[in-house]
Amino acid sequence: MATVLPPPSKRQKRDDAARARDPVEQPTIPEGLQRIQFRDADTGAAQGPVVSVSLADLRSQNLSLLLNSLLGKTDPADRLPYRFYNPLGDGEFNQEQIIKAYVDGTTTTELQLNIPCRAEAVFKVKAVTRCSASVSGHGESILSAQFSPATSSRLATGSGDKTARIWDCDTGTPLHTLKGHTGWVLAVAWSPDDGVLATGSMDNTVRLWDPEKGTPLGGALKGHTKWITSICWEPYHLREPGRPRLASASKDYTVRIWDAVSGHTDMALTGHKGSVTTVKWGGAGNIYTASQDRTVKIWTSATGTLLHTLTAHAHWVNHLALSTDHVLRTAYHDHQGRKAVPDTVDAKRKKAKERYDAALAPAGGVERLVSASDDCTMYLWEPSNSNKPLQRMVGHQKQVNHVTFSPDGATIASAGFDNHVKLWNAKDGKFISTLRGHVGPVYQCAFSPDSRLLVSASKDTTLKAWDVRTGKLAENLPGHQDEVFAVDWAPDGQRVGSGGQDKAVRIWRN
């Protein structure tokens, strides 16, 4: 016997009748024109003339098209993608809010709305979705990984088996094994011109290698008395022609500047009272060092004198990031690959300088610095203007291990031992969102070169790719057998490389 529904109650009948009687009014967009002015989100400069747009047409896609044509980029190939922000408050551009403000009278057609906009990267990186290669070769855990600045087909890794290896990511095969160190290889760094690979090791030495041939360039650079924690190359546009230099930070409280050609110590920067955890070489000729003595120190690279000491942290400073890290690392290599590389050294320097200057624009022409610490906070600094922090960034529940600026300089991502990655606004250091999903401490994170995606590596054996704009998980990338120590996103956006305790290098593609 079929179940018979009970007859509708009196109220249900009344409601039904009422619904049938008066038709529902669709929310309509009122007729009206809105005067808008596009402004650069960073500088506030006007972009194009003031225009009137009907309220119904105020959508991000339309605005992007409009702004492109206002700026004279009528050819579809020249168009730039733009991101628009809410003119009436914080957050993304929102048509409904503008209509609401129009209806309740806060804005009128006479008033002009200043819509902040920001050009995004012209190329789009797709989220990595699959493991294209899992290459074994190392005999011990992989401790560091970095892609070549020129191409995503070369990846260098340093391992606990006392070797560094260069991998051919196109075929997923090992290319060179760089033997020579007598301790774990803790740091690898490609020079910005892709010509030299530097590795720092537990055996207190730095070694230089030719990444094409896989042969050592000279002997070990000796001088440190404890292991090397971090290596950074001199920015390409600052280097004297034919005399590239690199800085290495060590556990022995010093930073040494080496001449990569002669192999001699140029300078030794002494002054820290604890292990130096990170060294960064800024594009304006300053060297930034973070140390476990709770300070960040700034030195001039020309003479090696101490400029400032930034003291605000209450515990070890674990990591530093510069707003220009990405361009300093890639110098004259842009998203177009090898075909856009200039021929002469002068042209290369010029292009590197141009890219560096362009990267400074969002921060108002100066380098920003962010430091992550064991006291669970981060500080945003503008060292050229003041030795007081711009903003203290609190929110992590445990130590912050890694911090990085997005290549466009608009976002900061921080990875902490509290299993979370947090996103911050690089302009004022305000909190944006928390990326939850890892179930173990997050060791490192890396932005995609178009700044739209972020990949994070964790102790829970996974990588996770995140959508930066929405703060949602874009892709979960399981596959590692054990914790993942190092992750890097290639500067051309094609691949992500990762390595960890399971000894296999994994290359991820879309």
Binding site: V439, Y443, S458, Q481
Partner: protein, 261 residues
């Protein structure tokens, strides 16, 4: 037995003797001499009791000394690097990472095919049906045919178990011999944690015992390891893990097991 805290009350009111500290120190200093004298001179039962007391004290002392030494060793290890390779950002972080030392060694071992099915107790003593079951002969009809059995070994029954009606219940699992928790040892870490049993996976004696949830030495049980915080390759938290029972639970009154990793 003192009925009140009258000694404390007295010291509160009148204070201590002026030479109190000195006397306490001297008494403590005499303690060793006194103990040594007793150890040499006592005879008979008193000597026996003294030895026992002393033995227990010595155990405590040794434990303390060991703890102290471990503390010192740890301090020394903090400055030196660990034996497993670690990235520079984890090098100075002491031993908190070492809780994970388990996985790599174990995973290497598991990669070898033969080790995949090896368990800590490869062989078990056979248990006959006579030993396992007691024939229940109560009641007129039951006694006549004697088809009812009582299990004489510890068992695990699920949380939602209800006994069947008497008429149909062939196997009785006595309430007093049911266990919900096992003391599980992690072989690599050397820690023992009491964990809830989820199910009995395999009793090597017979599949029927597996079904009945009998816990004998060598039985594989699934335990809830969520509080240990282990993670799978896919990044999910491991919930259930297998463990092998290592003791004769029926003799000991507890279930000890070792985690299969």
């Amino acid at each position: 037995m003192p009925q009140n805290e009258y000694m404390e009350r007295f010291t509160k009111q009148h204070g201590k003797r002026l030479d109190h500290e000195e006397r306490v120190r001297k008494r403590a200093a005499r303690e060793t001499h006194h103990a040594s004298k007793q150890a040499q001179n006592l005879t008979g039962l008193r000597a026996k009791l003294h030895q026992q007391k002393r033995h227990k004290e010595k155990i405590q002392m040794r434990k303390q000394i060991k703890q102290q030494e471990e503390k010192n060793v740890k301090g020394a290890e903090d400055s030196g690097p660990s034996s497993t390779p670690l990235p520079s950002y984890l090098l100075d972080r002491g031993k908190e990472t070492n809780a994970k030392a388990l996985s790599s060694a174990i995973k290497n071992k598991r990669a070898e095919k033969a080790a995949k099915f090896s368990v800590p107790l490869p062989k078990v003593r056979g248990i006959s049906e006579e030993e396992m079951f007691k024939v229940v002969k109560t009641g007129k009809k039951t006694a006549k045919k004697s088809w009812k059995r009582m299990i004489t070994k510890p068992t695990f029954v699920g949380p939602d178990f209800t006994r069947r009606p008497v008429k149909y219940e062939r196997f009785i699992r006595p309430m007093g011999l049911r266990y919900k928790k096992a003391n599980v040892t992690h072989p690599e870490l050397g820690v023992t944690v009491q964990l809830p049993i989820i199910s009995v996976k395999k009793n090597p004696q017979s599949p029927m015992y597996t079904q009945l949830g009998v816990l004998t030495k060598g039985t594989i049980v699934e335990v809830n390891v969520s509080e240990l915080g282990m993670v799978t390759a896919g990044g999910k938290v491991v919930w259930g893990r297998w463990a092998q029972v290592t003791n004769n639970c029926e003799n000991d009154g507890c279930v000890n097991a070792v985690l299969l990793v």
